[in-house]
Homo-oligomer: 457 residues x 2
């Protein structure tokens, strides 16, 4: 059966890529309200696509912000399992635009890669599922299993309404297992099963000194500089050995076992330094970069600003300084608890003469880990290996996907993270891209996987 499905994908490759191009051309930037219409357009694109290829139902479900696309196929019968397929059709902003080699919303193929915002995160990966479903419908006339599609338009702005809608419509979204394709492989063409994800918490610190920018000559020596105050606070939170120095931060961290460290040492890891263009990696003292990214919590300042940013000098003591911080958490850590520890540390560290305000990020997620030996995981690994002609590796990764935690909390079903991105995809950055190898072999993997789990069901 898989032969004709795969042949369909090969024969129709150019047309399918054209369809993906149309999808990528829609600048569905969820963070920018100017793109509200594009968000609708991208959602409509999915509804029409799934409806046209043969889904029983495909609709936009309104939320408080951007719509969620829900679709349903029940033609595999009550004996077949039902999968809940999650992805997102919104993308990150494309700025800084001047750093893109081709237009972010004019997809272009160069050197075996498809360049566009969303090519890897997540429209490209989402579209592969649609193409595979199309191939099944057009050849064998049906899908090997029942499918519920949940495509979100708010992933890049924190999935603010997703939990609420999953909770409210718990029965509608109920399934036997879930598949999420919003992640990557440890290296190009290296089949990778992600069995763990990090949790997430964040906050914003604003330090306010004088109520207006002051002349540094008139007031310098009398007034606390808020940027310096913020620098002192930040510098006190992580040391130069990359150890987070916030009291209690590591208290509940589930330690890495020797077995896991061995597994991590074996997993082919990307060359972080080369991919990032730095002369060396740095990681928490006592841990390798791979161990730190996969299995230890991290603390990052994502942005900071205060005072004069123009050319030359402006001799002021600025009024305010702000820093945005996010942490990636590992199993054992509670996001709200960590957030509170951070706030306590900040308030305790704040020097006299300035006011410090902490704005807690509402979105948070616990880390996730699944049993690598579960049959649904094993079958995914087999499909992967068959398509990519290479042994599948098992890894944990530093990213956070809140929906994983929510699906687990609401349904307690196995979640299979089937991702085809690569370390060079430049997610969230200029020149995002996706390898055509991942596109082709990824679709092949999906064909094998649906057949394997469908037959069994």
């Amino acid at each position: 059966m898989s032969e004709q499905v795969l042949r369909y994908l090969q024969t129709n490759r150019n047309r399918l890529l054209d369809n993906l191009f149309s999808f990528l051309k829609i600048p569905s930037i969820s963070a920018d309200s100017n793109h509200r219409q594009d968000i609708e357009k991208a959602a409509d694109y999915i509804v029409t696509y799934l409806h046209d290829i043969g889904f029983d139902l495909a609709e936009k479900q309104p939320t408080n912000n951007h719509p969620l696309v829900y679709a349903e196929y029940n033609g595999a019968g009550s004996q077949a399992p039902t999968v809940l397929l999650y992805g997102h059709y919104d993308v990150q902003p494309a700025d800084p635009l001047e750093l893109w080699q081709s237009e972010p919303f004019q997809p272009e193929i160069r050197e075996g890669r498809l360049f566009a915002r969303g090519a890897s995160d997540d429209k490209g990966q989402v579209f592969m599922h649609f193409a595979v479903f199309e191939a099944f419908f057009k050849t064998v006339g049906k899908l090997p299993l029942n499918v519920k599609v949940c495509m979100e338009g708010e992933e890049e702005i924190g999935s603010e309404n997703l939990y609420e809608i999953l909770y409210a419509k718990k029965e509608q979204f109920a399934a036997d297992f879930a598949v999420i394709s919003d992640s990557g492989m440890v290296a190009k063409n290296q089949p990778t099963i992600l069995y763990g994800l990090k949790g997430f918490t964040g906050l914003e610190i604003t330090v306010t000194g004088p109520d207006h920018d002051l002349h540094s000559g008139m007031y310098g020596g009398a007034i606390r500089n808020p940027i310096m105050a913020l620098s002192h606070i930040l510098a006190s939170m992580k040391n130069k050995e990359e150890i987070v120095t916030v009291e209690g931060f590591y208290n509940d961290v589930e330690p890495l076992t020797e077995e896991e460290r061995a597994l991590m040492a074996k997993a082919p890891s990307e060359d972080f330094a080369k991919a990032a263009g730095v002369d060396q990696t740095v990681s928490e003292k006592g841990y390798t970069a791979v161990e730190h990214t996969m299995g230890r919590p991290t603390f990052e300042i994502n942005g900071m600003f205060g005072g004069y940013q123009g050319e030359g000098t402006k001799t002021i003591i600025p009024s305010t300084a702000t820093a945005k911080i996010t942490c990636r958490l590992v199993p054992g850590q509670d996001p709200e608890n960590v957030q509170q520890l951070l706030e306590d540390h900040i308030m305790k560290t704040a020097p006299a003469g300035v006011r410090v305000h902490v704005k807690k990020e509402k979105l948070s997620a616990k880390a996730y880990k699944v049993e690598p030996n579960h049959p649904l995981i094993k079958k995914a690994a087999e499909a992967y290996s068959k398509a990519f002609q290479s042994e599948t590796v098992y890894v944990r990764m530093g990213g956070s996907i809140p929906v994983v935690e929510w699906i687990q909390a609401l349904y307690d079903i196995p979640i299979v993270l089937l991702g085809f991105g690569t370390p060079d995809d430049r997610l969230h950055s200029p020149n995002e891209s996706f390898p055509l190898d991942s596109f082709d072999k990824g679709m092949e993997t999906l064909v094998y996987y649906w057949q394997a789990v469908g037959h069994q069901g």
Copy 2:
């Protein structure tokens, strides 16, 4: 003689204010090349004004950037002294515009203050001289002394071409003494002689980590965060007791004598905390805020930026982070030497995994101190006291006026800093203003002073 001159100023007050309004309405922002025409317009305004009231010569002198206005009056005869009068007609940028209560370039009088960008720094103070000269010409027909006017259009961008032009035209600008009105009084209506100014040096630090913004989930734990690296560098440069911790920074500092500390304790000082809107002042351990601002070197971060600055979160490890630093120096300190100490410290402190680049600010100045008992200073104090009906105090201030150092270096003549600004003027900030009291009594002071030094000469 002074009676009729003062009467002229009173009678013509509204017209003179109107003239000042016209001058202030020209947005002569030197830092913004979009305002190049306005710079020319402001320079032309001065040329026309001085020419029309009776100067022998008034002209724009071209520089590599914005023109300098030079004017000459020689009618007081060879027995009278010649003063070199310095000021600047350029202004700081007005942003952030939304914080202005009235338009920055639409002058408005509210509660005894004239609000406009440049009202105090320095157009308002410059114009007072023009009005006083006009009053002398229109009443007694001549000025009590010979005058050379040097009005710069680049003060707010570092006076880049001034030294060169003073050096090249040394004879043309030569005078017996210099008067500069680009400073302030320690309190409103408190006659103040500034007998010392701070020097100045600055630099910009750019920390570069990855060559593009990275996904914090994929790379967090392997890559040094440039904002954190910069925070560590900055926090290592000044401690929470406001002591600069850069090795050698205080080596050549001329210590404050007990006499000077007593003088500083006596000088009526503004309420720094109230003026700045903070709950308390902070100053170098062992020194009061007044001592620190007047007589100890300072270190300020004027601006800092890196990574994401928009709303909400963007989970990146940013590619770069930048900080702008300036120091105010006291007698004894060499600007280039201090700059080098700062750079050495920064390079020594930079952690592995990032590249650090230091851009040294070209503009610098040594601190300045003049003998408070010089006759030209004493006469200024007397004129001041007579106009303001209050005893004159002698202070040093934290500001830096590079031209003071250059005039001293080129001519070795006494420099009298006759300033009428007040601590509430909000220089370089939104809602800059200048008290009408300073305008009226300041002009009166100038009338007394020119007569006193003219008679003597």
